[in-house]
Symmetry: C2
Subunit: 343 residues, 2 copies
């Protein structure tokens, strides 16, 4: 069972595993440093579909089908699917999962969705509600751009703080197993809002939520950053990553080179003109499922705190002058079922 | 712990209770048959805010604050909030809950959200992940109308199959207790899509999902409609309700007058010009939290299957020619902890 420790964190005593996982990306992702690690790359970002939104659903189908087939699972072995995305009414997930007949728990966590879905899947497996649960999310540069910003044809200028929405999806099947990667603990985040209103600076809006969730997790578990090999945020990008480290320094938490950000890993900012880095639900999801989980499985990465962050605004709330609330959920992934130390 | 019975249903062995609940509505809701049962009615549908979206968030604040205060709870006693709504990026819930500091699990289940959030809250309490969990959702006629259909000022004609989005919110605090209403079982629905494309006929799009979930629940629990006092759908309205009964007849399941629909209960269709009935996340939520839960608490209603249904489309998917997928989640509410019969 899941044992609450402190106020916000659950230790998963049955340590569910990520049994299998799949990732998909497109041309820009293939040209980045992680391109070789993706299961599927389709350089045609339409994925053969007639709209960007349908292309995004197609990516969900691909990442889920990769996760299922790599684990030799059929859809009817999955007790529950946790999924959501950035599109209005989460249509990326809905149409992507429509044909599978898996009980569906629709989520909205913006770019925190990979951590939110993985945390819920892990809690459900740990408490034996589900034997196997699916966690999946996606984003598409073109569907996000026209929904949140401008039509692609407009060719709007992007400020240096802007990030580039990843065209990609990642899916995990969580279940009981004796093999790594294990899910050892989760922290469900609270909504944090320090008043940032610049919709071209999501990193700044989300950094306080990441700082809060990391601080709470470390306090709840009586651990320090040194107890982990990597503290991996979702898509803070360059601006948000710097702010996160500053905010944690104020709390006397020193990440000391252990911090990585999926938004900074996925693209080469010198070569790829992505400004402050990658973003979108598919950023954290595809980096986790292509580059990180295989290393934890092999044991080349030991303990990773995966902290995906979301900006919970809409274009409507921004136009109405509202600030941008952020949220961050944390999942402790590990190559070992139990580790030295206090946890 | 939650014990899976059949393929889709969980029996909640620790039978969590709905400890307290709150409801809010506006002018049209107050003029309907259930007006007197709401905790809070504000005939000014702006709720003192400068936009319809902010008014919707205000309703979330009101229903949650009612649910908390009626149970003598403080926000920091709540381990987890499950919430979502119809607005793009679920901003009704996000801005409504922003200031409470409760760990937040954002959901998207369209008009099924009250059942989805209540089911998750019940599963979390039953498995002791949470001691107390909040389930809340909302809708607002004016924010929904301009997002999903036309600007209010346009004065578009509404076909007879159209429904009227309820301006309202309902919130439940779920926890351990020795008192009714108990949550005895939940069924998580699958996405069902029979190809309906008429965005003015949501009842028809959602009825197949309701039929499927009810059929599965009855099969999983080896029970019949006669074992329940009420089978309460969320917002099928007149068209969807008739279709549901037809679809169930085909499965040889006869509801025999036990079926009620929140969308038909909340307004007087003869007097209030709402066409096929009420709809929206706030429909099922506010009817449940004003009219139904008090009756279960008193014992004047024994066993109720609460089946909220959602239409998981967006205006974009409809414009792109996609059909409308539906989903229905089921929560078995009861005035007694254990009942006669096979379950």
């Amino acid at each position: 069972m899941a044992v609450k420790t402190g106020k916000y964190t659950y230790l998963l005593e049955n340590t569910p595993s990520v049994l299998s996982f799949g990732s998909v990306g497109s041309k820009k992702e293939s040209e980045g440093p992680l391109g070789q690690y993706f299961d599927v790359i389709n350089p045609d970002s339409t994925f053969g579909e007639s709209s960007w939104e349908k292309a995004e659903s197609k990516m969900v189908q691909i990442s889920v089908s990769q996760a299922l087939s790599k684990g030799n699972f059929e859809a009817d072995q999955i007790d529950m699917a946790f999924a959501g995305d950035l599109l209005n009414q989460c249509i990326g997930s809905v149409y992507g999962l429509r044909d599978l007949g898996i009980p569906f728990v629709g989520l909205y966590g913006a770019c925190s969705t990979m951590a939110e879905s993985l945390a819920l899947a892990a809690l459900f497996v740990d408490t034996a509600i589900a034997k196997k649960a699916l966690a999946v999310t996606s984003s598409h540069f073109c569907s996000a751009e026209r929904q949140f910003r401008f039509p692609l044809e407009y060719g709007g200028q992007r400020p240096p703080t802007a990030q580039w929405t990843v065209t990609g999806s990642g899916a995990c099947v969580v279940g009981e197993s004796g093999a790594a990667p294990y899910i050892r603990a989760v922290t469900i985040g609270c909504i944090e809002d320090l008043g940032i209103k610049d919709a071209n600076n999501m990193g700044a809006a989300m950094a306080p939520a990441a700082a809060k969730t990391i601080t709470r997790y470390l306090a709840d578990t009586h651990t320090r950053p040194e107890d982990y090999d990597m503290i991996l945020t979702g898509d803070l990008g360059q601006v948000g990553s710097a702010l996160l480290e500053q905010l944690l320094e104020q709390e006397k938490i020193h990440l000391q080179g252990r911090h990585q950000d999926c938004g900074l890993l996925i693209y080469d900012r010198q070569q790829q003109d992505v400004h402050a880095g990658g973003s979108g639900c598919g950023c954290a999801a595809s980096v986790l499922c292509s580059f990180i989980l295989p290393k934890i499985r092999k044991g080349t990465l030991g303990d990773v705190l995966f902290v995906a962050t979301g900006a919970l605004m809409s274009p409507t709330s921004s136009m109405q002058g509202e600030s941008i609330p952020g949220i961050a959920h944390l999942v402790h992934l590990s190559s070992s079922r139990r580790r030295k130390g206090v946890e």
